[in-house]
Amino acid sequence: MLSLIVILPFFSALLMALVYLQDTSKKRYLFFTFVGVGTPAFSSLLSLYFGYMLLNGSETIHTTLFEWISIGEFQVSFAFMADRLSVVMISFITVIGTLIHIYAAGYMRDDGAYGKFFSYFNLFMGSMLLLILADNPIMMFVGWELVGLSSYLLIGFYHTESKNITAANKAFMLNRVGDFGFIMGIALLFLSLEGTGFTYESIELHILSIDHDTLTLIGIFLFIGAMGKSAQIPLYVWLPDAMAGPTPVSALIHAATMVTAGVYMVARYSFLYEQIPDVGLFIAYIGAASALFAAIIASYQSDIKKILAYSTMSQLGYMFMAVGIGAYSSGIFHVFTHAFFKALLFMGAGAVIVALHHEQNIFKMGGLKKHLKLVYITMFIATLAISGIPPFAGFFSKDAILVAAFSSEHYLLWAMGSLTAGLTAFYMFRLLFSVFHAQPKEQHSLVKLPKSMTTPLVFLAFGSATAGFLGLNAAYGGSAFINNFLNLPDVSHHISHSSEYMLGALNVALGVSGMMLAYKMFATKTQELNADTLLKKVVINKFYIDEIYEFFVLKPLLILSRFIANVLDPKVFDGFINLNVWGYKNAATLFARLQNGKVRYYALYILIGVSAMSYYMIFKLGGL
């Protein structure tokens, strides 16, 4: 039963691909919608069922399909494991995924390659579920690679424009760099375990048998993989470019699910990371730096989807900060709440873009709150959530992270996090006010939005509003339900309730002040960005990071590649082979001359042989 959750999406992807390929011109809207949306719906029902079972005290559920690799000590079976962490993840991933599928059915309605889209989309769902439900690191890596592939396919979906293909390539390549680290980590882990089994449970049992330095190395390598997948510094540059894909793709992959795979990985390996708190601190600092960095850039962007992309990177930084300092449940909790409001924000942005005939610059929009009421209300709720305003979801999860940072005496992290929270509120409300409140420069005619696009927004808004209460900790009167349920090895620090209230109040104050500042600057008239000062110029150009990478990394690689292709390959390698061929040919010609067809010479050869033997017998063997 458990395996069906993963197998069904793959199967439906294959089915839709075959049907689509059979005749690419036929639309078959009904079929693809039914299969494409029905499969994640069914998976979500199954996931909720398993969640319910685990909730009622059942133990971790294992299902093994078959033995996949069996080479000596390296035994990998195609098996799934539903423990508390994975069941939490698959529950919200499948439910939110189903909602986004419904939204995509409306968004992509007029697209010719409708079937291809849903095939890829289901492939992605299957891969993500495989990643989460995997029972051993190798299966997780299979899922890891597959989500990277699906991301590439979906980003480059509008493949007729070359810049989309470039963006897809960029995403895949940076992912690959991260995967290199990931593979090294897994390999090192396997080698240092020395044959005691390679499933998560057996690794957890034997984790103490690995010495500290190896563990540090493994932790760093695994995190490099997370850096690539979850867009942290320095492997983040693909995420803004990935917005070239269709908006449902951005909503599902680059907001709610794939980018959280890195956080999930760290939480899954919590038994490893709790042994190496120094690496954890490094992770936390990278997370905090990414969060702050992204928030600064987002404050000056003008493309609505790029703002949301940088916002995703920033929130991911929060999650890594949490798992870095040992607050694993808070990190996963933030993943959970973030999925709701970020998916909602992307879908709302997509609705706005479609309504305005694919306009994406927020300064060309304005005054939409009268015309797109539903979208406005839901996005307003989501913006409140992301800014950390209670009682919406984002407040509780962000607060939990910042409290953990403060109480474990990582004050620098706490300061960076709080500053980022203020900036988050600022740029999110800047987006909201510029799109919906400000006076537009010119009037647009609006496209009517189908119900399939607007209804999921309502559900997600409800989630954004209420999901926070699942993680309510003791200070606010809750029972920290998710933290207890997840049962992860959190580092716990005690902090008095009054300090918690003060920190919470500080967060709210920062959020509200950000909102006020944005209101003052953007709510009345649309303000265009101008790069007057040098600082503004640098920030608007995203700190020129892309250009730096191009100069220092890409150019040398290209030069090296050209050198190898033009000089090394034809002259050295081929030259060596040609030398061999020349040698053989000449030797063959030489030997061919021995056989000239004259019997006399053949008799001579016999005589030479006999003579050699005779000489040998006489001189070496001493006569007769």
Binding site: L607, I608, V610, S611, S614, Y615, M617, I618, G623, L624
Partner: protein
């Protein structure tokens, strides 16, 4: 019997000189007929050797067959071919080849000689002549089968030479 031995050695030496001289002449001459003459001399020497070994029958048989039949036949063929002086073979490297081959074959000769003489036997002093009667007796009793087979071989040889050497009536 010292005199016998000395006489035999003298005769042996003369015959050996004939044989070796004749064979050397055979392999170094440019004209074919001269080589045939050298061969004839060598065969006669061989007949003498057989006689020295008290083997009357073989000596006479050798003269009859090898000399009388083979050499004559070779001469006949050589003269039938009737090559003119100018179309005779020119072999410029003849002596180089001979020298090279002698160098190659010297150890083999030595080994052959050593292996044969390692039997360390001596001729028995009693003169045992193999005359026709002795040979004939062996030929028709214990060596009857090889005798018959050789006769068949001779028959086949005759037929074969006729077939090989005849003119083809029809065009190939």
């Amino acid at each position: 019997m010292l005199e016998t031995n000395t006489l035999e050695i003298i005769i042996f030496s003369i015959l050996a000189a004939f044989m070796i001289g004749g064979s050397l002449a055979m392999i170094t001459n440019k004209q074919t007929v001269f080589s045939a003459f050298g061969f004839l001399v060598a065969m006669l020497g061989l007949a003498g050797m057989f006689a020295l070994l008290d083997n009357r029958f073989l000596a006479i048989a050798q003269i009859m067959v090898s000399v009388g039949a083979v050499v004559v036949f070779s001469m006949l063929t050589i003269l039938t071919i009737n090559m003119k002086e100018k179309s005779l073979l020119v072999e410029p490297d003849k002596f180089k080849w001979i020298a090279f081959s002698i160098v190659l074959i010297a150890p083999f000769t030595y080994l052959l000689y050593k292996s044969l003489s390692s039997t360390a036997l001596k001729f028995s002093t009693s003169i045992q002549t193999f005359d026709t009667k002795a040979v004939g007796h062996e030929l028709f009793t214990s060596w009857a089968l090889p005798f018959e087979m050789v006769s068949i071989l001779l028959l086949v040889g005759m037929l074969g030479s006729i077939v090989i050497a005849r003119k083809k009536k029809e065009k190939r």
